[in-house]
């Protein structure tokens, strides 16, 4: 007598993103073992990320280097200008990159941080005299050459700079890792007069010693990130009288460029993963939630292997926080729209994007820096080239890990994926050799009345949903299901996968 097929419906698979921390057998099917070049779309489905479109047409000044930082400058008069750094140059423009490096100013590193403050944009990098640009001057100049500049000495050539509370703050110097300097009020080039000053927090570190990595301003606090601890000061509007508000030991920040503001929180990468400050005004303590709890080991491994820069960006429009390890060319995409039960963000991974810098413009446009110059995060191809979307489920036991499962059918439901070739994969018992079957999604372009009607396109009323039923082979106690597709121009979302299996005998 034929046995009844048992159906496991993976609704919105990978809805919870990647989870490499929990045992695959015990995992919720909503997690994914692999979710590459994927995001969680607006409907909570795993979907292919957007690609990027290169804006730059002339990148001569960049040469073969990549853009290491991008920043939009905008002053009160409405003047805007895009600045970027790369190839040991200060660069402006988007379509044609223009070298803005001051004459007789030699740059040998591109680890700049750019901040806008009081109608000026400032460039800070450890060991380099800060640079400044404003629309009136029209060119990038050294900070000391600004009229009225004071106190611009090598002691304040910091790697970190923060524009907050009406001042510039800088820290992380070549030989001083515990001092923060702040400028005079609203005067970013006066570092020795007015109400400028400094604070040495070497006696404040909760663990006795630490080094300042990054600064942040949030909720009236000046947050000082060390490598292994965090110190928060309140009353930073008057730095001379600001007082210690809270300290956190054991958690620090890996790199200044991992700090991003989400409006209600501050995200940063620590040695144990992505962290955030909870907004706890009424609480005395400052709890820190782990946002990368599902990929902690992966993050730590990436941290340990990174040899270049960390880059990050927060995009409220896309609802994600991107964290890129440029040396390993891998980006983690954290969906910031909500957290899971364990307080983690849903995370996906973007490998081999070649993204080396980001900035979000005031209009919400996300600019991406690559070897090709400045790109816009849009479309579904990487400047005309496709990229592989991957989804792999955790190992599924169908509720009984002791019995053999004989996979019969896979019924994926896809949204979009116009003319894409989709590869469905499965494997048993943690085998990394997957059986594959493929199918091509038909034309999914929406037809409109009077335009390609009834001719080359199917008559559709919106984005198309494609559901297939694919036969499968083999058996095992656990089954892992995957889906891959080359994204090259069209979006793809995975609505669900219905796995039909026959439950066999006990082993």
């Amino acid at each position: 007598m034929a046995q009844e097929l048992k159906s496991i419906n993976l609704v919105a698979p990978a809805f919870k993103g990647v989870n490499t921390e929990d045992s695959p057998l015990a995992q919720d099917p909503s997690f994914a073992e692999i979710a590459d070049n994927a995001v969680i779309d607006k409907r909570g489905r795993i979907a292919a990320r957007k690609g990027h479109t290169v804006v730059t047409t002339n990148k001569t000044v960049l040469g073969t280097d990549s853009l290491r930082a991008i920043k939009e400058f905008k002053d009160n008069a409405g003047n805007t200008k895009i600045f970027s750094v790369g190839n040991n140059k200060i660069i402006s423009g988007t379509t044609t990159l223009v070298d803005e490096t001051p004459g007789s100013y030699t740059i040998t590193a591109d680890n700049w941080k750019l901040v806008t403050f009081n109608d000026k944009i400032y460039f800070f990098q450890r060991g380099y005299q800060p640079l400044v640009y404003d629309n009136a001057g029209g060119s990038v100049i050294t900070l000391s050459s600004v009229s009225g500049a004071a106190g611009v000495t090598s002691a304040m050539y910091g790697n970190e700079v923060l524009a907050a509370y009406g001042r510039l703050w800088t820290a992380d110097f070549s030989s001083n890792k515990s001092t923060i300097y702040w400028s005079d009020l609203l005067i970013g080039h006066d570092w020795s007069g007015g109400t400028s000053g400094s604070i040495d927090i070497s006696k404040v570190w909760p663990d006795g010693y630490d080094e300042i990595v990054a600064l942040a301003a949030h909720n009236g606090l000046l947050i000082i990130f060390g490598k292994h601890s965090i110190v928060a000061y309140q009353g930073a509007e008057a730095p001379a009288t600001m007082t210690l508000s809270d300290t956190v030991s054991g958690v620090g920040c890996v790199d200044r460029d991992t700090v991003q503001y989400t409006g209600t929180d501050v995200l940063f990468l620590s040695h144990t993963g992505l962290k955030s400050f909870g907004r706890t005004i009424q609480e005395k303590s400052m709890p820190i939630s782990s946002l990368s709890g599902n990929i902690t080991k992966d993050i730590i491994a990436a941290l340990q292997n990174e040899t270049q820069f960390f880059r990050s960006v927060y995009s409220p429009e896309e609802g994600f926080y991107l964290l890129t390890f440029t040396g390993q060319d891998v980006t983690y995409c954290f969906d910031v729209r909500g957290t899971l039960e364990n307080g983690s963000y849903r995370v996906t991974r973007w490998p081999s994007t070649k993204f080396t810098s980001y900035t979000r413009l005031e209009d919400g446009t996300l600019h991406v820096g690559t070897i090709n110059g400045i790109s816009t995060y849009t479309g579904y191809s990487d400047n005309g080239s496709g990229y592989r979307f991957k989804y792999y489920s955790p190992s599924l036991t169908f509720g009984d890990s002791a019995r053999i499962k004989i996979l019969k059918k896979l019924k994926p439901t896809l949204v979009g994926a116009n003319n894409s070739v989709v590869f469905m994969k499965w494997a048993y018992d943690f085998d990394t050799t997957y059986a594959t079957t493929e199918f091509t999604v038909g034309t999914q372009i929406t037809g409109f009345y009077g335009e390609s009607e009834y001719t080359t396109v199917e008559f559709t009323g919106g984005q198309l949903t494609n559901q297939r039923s694919l036969n499968t082979t083999g058996y095992g106690t656990s089954v892992q299901v995957g889906l891959e597709s080359e994204i090259d121009g069209s979006p793809l979302s995975l609505q669900e996968i219905n796995v039909m299996a026959l439950i066999g005998k006990l082993l």
């Binding site: 007015g194 400028s196 000053g197 009288t241 600001m242």
Partner: protein, 361 residues
Amino acid sequence: MNEDLDIGLPPEMMGILSAGIGGSNPIMAATNALNTGGGFFSDIFGSLGDIASAVSPAIPAIAGSLLTSEAYDRLSDIGEQSILGTTVGGVRVPGAMEIAERGQAESQFRPFTVTTGTGGQFGTRVTPTGEIATTMMTSPQEQALQQQLFGGAGQFFGQAQAPTTTREQQIFERMRAAQRPEEERQRLALEERLAAQGRLGTSSAAYGGATPEQLAMATAQEEARTRSMLGAMQQAQAEQAQQAALGQQLLGASYLPQAQLLAATQPAQRMAELQQQAQLFGTGLFGETAMSGLESRMLLEQARANLLGGIGSNILAGMFTPQVTQSGTVLDPGGFGNIGEIIEGVGSGLGGLFGSIFGDD
């Protein structure tokens, strides 16, 4: 001697005067007596007789002249005696000089010595140059005390004259030493407070490279330092004034034994003044008395000289008055008569006199 003519002349003068007046000529008598002796003396007296014979008509004139001369001499003697003094009746009558010298001697300052009950002595003496010198000597105890007080005064004056900077620094250091513990406590408290607030390393240009609290504390401490400095200056100056006052007091006290000695001499000095006054009064009385007697004698002697001079004048006046009878016969024309005969007789007499003396006989 004719008592009526006793006007104090010597007897020989009175003889000449009597011969002239009474017609008896002692010169002539003497000449005659000599002439009677013969020989050398008879020659001499013969010659003198010739001279006397020749000048006998001039005897009244001579007598008058002598009297006048005597009166003149007496007036001169009286003047001299008034200066030098004389002896009257065996009693020495001092002259004006002698009286003055005696008065000066009698009015000389007489040194005296005062000895106080504490052993101090005040003495006076007249130096060989006539100056009055005083000597004061306090007792050994007083001298010791005086030396002690002098030393103290010198010490205080020395301190008062010394620059106050060193003393100011000493006072300032003592004041600061009193302030430092509290300042240190405040500093530590602030340090702890700043450390608790995580602001120990805060440096603000607006607050002199520190926190407002540190600046406030530094300002307060600096103000305290300034006040201490000013206080130290004032204290040093007050001490300087005090030392000067103490020096003044000790100096004044050091002269107290001397002042007391001088005060003790006041009654003695009064007594000396009284003695001096009495001495001066007696001297003045003596001088006045002596001078009044001397003046009386001078007046009397002057009257006697005037009388004698008047007599001489009268004799001379009588000699030159012609004697005329009632009938108008001139018995004597007055004057010296034949001057040629007188000169001849005198010349003859002098010739015989010198011939007798110096002749070959």
